[in-house]
Symmetry: C2
């Protein structure tokens, strides 16, 4: 299949590699064009613009990090995908943007008889490398069926959540849930330490009960060590919470804990911790408790 992949960052580059390895006819484009070189070595064609990449493609897969970037890549009248894409083709957007933004994009492509699936992912750089990403999809059943053979190559658990935008809703919900879980685990870890218990033993005592979570199992050690290797960047989670909170505002829902965590993350980013793993939210709880930097002892 002729596939264009636009955006070769931490997520897009391994996606493109997997598609080349699966034998597809892949054309790549990245704004910083040097990033295309490793893909070209593997056999991908290079395109100077998104429009050039999309010309003749059956599927255009886009994976960048911000709504304005997605809109420029897809909708720019001269250099965007929409300038050249053929009727009957399909756009798959793996970027995380607002549900409303996804609906606007889908409507623009529908006018050209081009299908659209929003397909934000979860699972980080490791999931992209191993092709185990969870992919949350919004689109018609017909478009999803066309996207599935492509998504199967780059991801693991692939779910059609509902019509266009519903993939983005699921991603926003994912980030909202994570805000509460990370904050709860961080408050618990700091309490365990300050109250005088061995943090590791406390975690072992509770992690198989009702408090069980991926975060407690996989990120409590970061919080204890006061070291936050990636993982998933604070600044990207904060960006996604911005989308979730904007969506919540439009729907008239106060999300008090999500809002609180977002503002704490603003503080982390301002303090130079935006590129740490989001388990660094523990820094804010520690600091409010006057705990100096460094590993937590028992």
């Amino acid at each position: 299949m002729k596939i264009a992949v636009i955006g070769l960052g931490t997520m897009g580059a391994p996606m493109a590699r997997h598609l080349v390895a699966a034998g597809h006819d892949v054309t790549v484009h990245n704004r910083t064009r040097e990033r295309e070189a490793p893909l070209a070595e593997l056999g991908a064609a290079r395109a100077a613009t998104p429009a050039e990449a999309a010309a003749g493609a059956e599927v255009v897969l886009c994976c960048v990090s911000d709504t304005p970037d997605v809109e420029a890549i897809l909708l720019n009248g001269d250099t965007g995908v929409i300038a050249t894409i053929s009727p009957g083709a399909l756009v798959i957007d793996c970027s995380t943007i607002s549900p409303e933004g996804a609906r606007r994009l889908a409507a623009a492509f529908a006018e050209h008889q081009v299908g659209f699936v929003d397909a934000p992912v979860s699972g980080g750089s490791e999931g992209a490398e191993k092709a185990t990403l969870a992919i949350m999809c919004g689109g018609s059943e017909a478009d999803f069926a066309r996207a599935l053979p492509v998504l199967d190559i780059i991801g693991g658990a692939i779910t059609l959540v509902g019509p266009v935008g519903c993939g983005q809703i699921a991603k926003a919900v994912n980030q909202v849930v994570l805000a509460g879980v990370y904050q709860g685990v961080a408050e618990g870890i700091v309490l365990a330490h300050r109250a005088g218990a061995d943090v590791e033993k406390v975690v072992a005592a509770i992690e198989n009960g009702a408090a069980r979570s991926w975060v407690l199992e996989n990120r409590a050690p970061n919080m204890q060590a006061d070291a936050y290797p990636l993982g998933f960047r604070v600044r990207l989670h904060r960006k996604d919470l911005g989308i979730a909170l904007e969506t919540a505002r439009e729907c008239g829902i106060p999300l008090p804990v999500t809002s609180y965590v977002a503002t704490q993350e603003d503080g982390l980013i301002h303090g130079g911790h935006g590129d740490e793993d989001m388990s660094a939210i523990a820094r804010t709880v520690r600091r409010n408790a006057g705990i100096a930097d460094g590993p937590l002892k028992g």
Copy 2:
């Protein structure tokens, strides 16, 4: 072994049954004495006071719901366990009280050469019935070794967290973590609904990724159905958060999300929802969003 069980509520009664079934010589006491009758039918002896129950016992197991009750049962000079318990015996307290309270009790018994293990449990009435409770223990290694054969009969995952009080610290941490997780899941579920997605499909799309938790898997359906069968009561979680927040205050740690959830639970209790499962925290998020009572549709 001669064992006294004091407190035959939702948790204590099945504990006593399991110990009788395991062939131990069990004496029971409960403030509301009628509750002793079903145990007596199974072969347990009845005692009129905690002191009478503890006379000659090798192990005294106590399971009630509040610090003043525990102190009255154990330390009352005339009718309490301390009035009759033999040197060399062991007190196991399965109640949830403050870590500091546990240390005070242990010190009082140490003066009588009586060992003490704080052993709060998690897993609810179902865990007590099935003897699968998680039990978080604080005590010396020697006292824990003596408690273990008894705890093995009433629970599943049994952990020695550290010295006396550390079982209570682990329990407090468990409840703090749960506060964040429940609130995060509730905010996510309400956002999914309001933004127009099928809640069940959103949960399915995210529950195997980083947002994975026991609460999301097991309590999101309650939140969607707007029905909160037990489970674990809001009023008991609120009581436990009181212990956690008091401990945090003594240690000088602000726990902002725990504090927020505690005050929301106060509102639920005031509104007549204190005996619902704590997934009822979703009520507060729904109401702030102006969503009428009833199941959430897609």
